[in-house]
């Protein structure tokens, strides 16, 4: 034992390994959901992968040394910041294309390919089909909402964040989160009325 309480090289190596394993576990746990959120916001699997990759890099670079309890909110904070950046860039590109009359790259990507995949999580095929249809309709309806409403809804309904965590991840006040979330739920309920039996 070192008198100064410093970690021995072996101890430091163990700590580093533990941290790498914990980081790997955490990223493995959130990567699918992050990809789903990014794809829903962008409508493009390739762009979604870029967004998630960028998020993972920045998270590892900036926040890997922070306590593990803070990781979840910090990760989604970066993810939604990247999605917002993507939105801004895309809006500029779309405006540019609209001015010059060029066709958009994503016009053919309106339908979510995941909506066509059979749902294997339900033992009842009819229920599986219903859920699959509902999910496809929900994702399509979400995509038409303003970005902030989309983000508030997915963070609360999908990730299960409370208002304070959502506010931290979105970088806005809790009051704004409540407003965005309430509007999103209201709009989605109206759009998905047929599924609410």
């Amino acid at each position: 034992m070192l008198p100064c309480g410093c970690l021995s090289p072996r101890g430091r190596g163990d700590k580093s390994l533990d941290q790498s394993a914990a980081l790997n576990r955490f990223l493995a746990q959130v990567e699918r959901r992050a990809f789903g959120m990014a794809r829903m916001a962008s409508g493009s699997p390739d762009d979604a992968l870029d967004i998630v990759q960028d998020t993972m890099f920045n998270f590892a670079r900036l926040y890997a040394n922070r306590p593990e309890g803070e990781w979840n909110v910090l990760f989604y904070k970066i993810l939604h910041s990247r999605i917002t950046d993507w939105y801004r860039r895309t809006a500029v590109r779309r405006r540019f294309h609209d001015w010059f009359g060029k066709p958009r790259d994503d016009e053919a990507d309106e339908e979510d390919p995941m909506a066509r995949v059979a749902d294997s999580t339900s033992p009842d095929p009819a229920e599986g089909v219903m859920r699959q249809e509902f999910t496809g309709a929900l994702q399509a309806a979400l995509r038409k909402l303003p970005l902030r409403q989309q983000q508030a809804f997915v963070l609360r309904a999908w990730e299960g964040f409370d208002t304070a965590q959502t506010a931290l991840a979105m970088g806005c006040s809790e009051g704004s989160v409540k407003t965005h979330y309430s509007r999103a739920v209201h709009a989605l309920q109206i759009k998905l009325e047929e599924f609410q039996s």
């Binding site: 580093s16 941290q19 790498s20 980081l23 790997n24 990223l27 493995a28 990567e31 699918r32 959901r33 990809f35 789903g36 699997p45 992968l49 998630v52 990759q53 993972m56 890099f57 998270f59 590892a60 670079r61 890997a64 040394n65 995941m114 995949v117 749902d119 294997s120 999580t121 339900s122 859920r131 699959q132 509902f134 999910t135 929900l138 994702q139 997915v154 309904a157 999908w158 299960g160 739920v185 989605l188 309920q189 998905l192 599924f195 609410q196």
Partner: protein
């Protein structure tokens, strides 16, 4: 009415959550592979940062800043303190102050026995 609405809302949210969770399970192998690659690279980035030979721990950096700031404050106070002009600046000045070369001073020391005797006899006093 409100209770009914919130119950309906809760059911809707649960349904949405189930739908989202189910969609996570249906990713193709190519996407999963790319996600895994990105994850491995991100972990490597974190490892490289953690193992860096010249990496300065945060507490050392903070402590360094605090020490440097304190040093600047101390130096500033030290420089700004008004200096008192000392009458003696070097060895020559000491001699002048002590006036060791002065002839009068030497006379006083030579006549010390006389002054002592004078004080003893009382002739030097005014009474």
């Amino acid at each position: 009415m409100n209770e009914k609405l919130s119950e309906k809302e809760a059911r809707f949210l649960e349904k949405a959550r189930q739908g989202f969770l189910a969609s996570e399970e249906h990713l193709d192998a190519g996407t999963l592979s790319r996600l895994r690659d990105a994850r491995v690279r991100a972990v490597e980035v974190a490892d490289a940062r953690g193992r860096g030979f010249f990496r300065i721990p945060n507490w050392t950096r903070d402590g360094g800043f605090a020490t440097a700031a304190a040093a600047v404050v101390v130096f500033t106070i030290w420089v700004d303190t008004p200096r008192q002009e000392l009458p003696v600046k070097n060895a020559d000045d000491i001699e002048i102050v002590l006036n060791v070369d002065s002839v009068d001073n030497i006379d006083i020391y030579e006549d010390l026995d006389f002054y002592e005797w004078l004080a003893g006899t009382g002739n030097g006093s005014s009474s």
